[in-house]
Symmetry: C2
Subunit: 261 residues, 2 copies
């Protein structure tokens, strides 16, 4: 069993209530990575409906998840139909609701080529890119032991005049990507503001929506995330993930705060 | 009182329960426009928290709203803090839940210019653009009496080799735009697939998220919506709205189905 499977697994303890043991090994600094923290909720929600793949995953981050340990997930099936199910779930930890996930599940199996798609930009291969370093962000990165991120030289902190983050990502234990790990991957890169503006502060997410488009092939996932909207201390970041065959496998958009550190 | 105010108004009838009379005057064909149908829920949610502006509005469309008439909204405050509130609400009509709105409220008043923003493309002025016509979409458009939409010649059905919809929008009774009408405006244009592919079918929305960025100035709102992802019968459409001063006032993204008609 992969570390991701094991450390996001949920156990039913009552009708619509699930237990999960949160690991601190997915932390960025003192807090769980958002993509990790939403994953046990997503797993519980998948079990609530009858469709295998999350096709739309909206997470509202209410409070940080600190320290790990025992937590509960409460779920409610909103609607189930022939092609999609809709369900909502909340992660409760250390006395408070921490995040809410509203997800649509369906089946992304499709033999068709995409009719319209964003092409994957050319990037240096992973071996010519640098590992994500906590030092450049001023935090410890326990998550680096769980998720490998490779960033090309022109996207390091302060390295670009574009607010664009790019690179490669995969699970560190060699587990191939799946439709369940793509939301994690969409939220595991440094903020796209950092290449342009430097380490300007902390960029907590208010709301993140990930649309899974296709079941990913084995290998590295390529990512491109851009902030094209920064105003009044809030920013919008838009992302695309491609698999090792160059196909789009997920899209993302988030609303985040820019808090000066 | 504007038609929008009157026809989206909610009346508390119990703790967390609101009554609304849905009007059929915002229909596209037989169904209420999604942006209209979500608006009474958004108004109830604003009353639940303590912040004036919706800054993130995610709607899951479960079933069409047909026929109008009496409906109820149930609301729940998820979290309220100093800068933002998060709340969820459901529209119940004719025996079924029809849509769920998860919204974050804050205050978009900001004297700052945007630090990063998408510039408004040049468009012919509204008087050189055509009114949205139901005939081109094969449906009646009662909503045309409530919302004026103007589309430039190169964005009519089948008129472009890009999956881009552009144009101008405002309330028909002259009421200026507000942060509460921007989600409506983000969902009131014909599908961005139509200029490229023609009237290929019905494009129901599964999930729509609108981020309101700024309080809009009076006058026409300019919009640009693009589908850059169509695969397996599902499409992603991304939009930007600008006010009459050229400032970005909202961003949108939706996951929709493409159903051949």
């Amino acid at each position: 069993m992969s570390a991701f499977e094991r450390e996001t697994s949920v156990r039913p303890i009552a009708d619509g209530i699930w237990a999960v043991h949160l690991s601190a090994d997915w932390n960025i600094g003192d807090s769980a990575n958002g993509g990790y923290a939403l994953s046990p909720v997503l797993r519980a929600l998948r079990d609530v409906g009858e469709h295998p793949d999350p096709i739309s995953v909206t997470t509202h981050f209410l409070r940080p998840v600190r320290g790990g340990g025992e937590a509960t997930v409460t779920t409610r099936l909103i609607r189930t139909g022939r092609t999609v199910s809709v369900a909502t779930g909340t992660l409760h930890h250390a006395g408070h609701d921490r995040l809410v996930v509203n997800a649509v599940f369906g089946d992304v199996d499709s033999p068709d080529e995409a009719i319209i798609a964003v092409p994957a930009p050319q990037l240096p291969p992973p071996e010519e890119c640098a590992a994500r370093e906590g030092g450049a962000q001023g935090v410890e990165l326990p998550i680096a032991g769980r998720v490998e991120v490779r960033i090309p030289p022109n996207r390091v902190v302060g390295g670009s005049d574009e607010a664009v983050m790019e690179g490669w990502i995969r699970l560190a234990d060699g587990t191939p990507p799946s439709t369940m790990t793509l939301p994690l991957f969409a939220d595991a890169f440094p903020p796209s503001l950092f290449p342009k503006l430097g380490r300007v502060g902390w960029v907590p997410t208010i709301e993140l929506t990930v649309h899974v488009r296709r079941r990913p092939a084995a290998g590295w996932i390529q990512a491109r995330l851009e902030c094209d909207d920064l105003s009044g201390g809030r920013m919008i970041e838009t992302g695309t993930l491609w698999d090792s065959t160059g196909r789009v496998v997920a899209r993302s958009r988030q609303l985040g705060l820019l808090l000066n550190s």
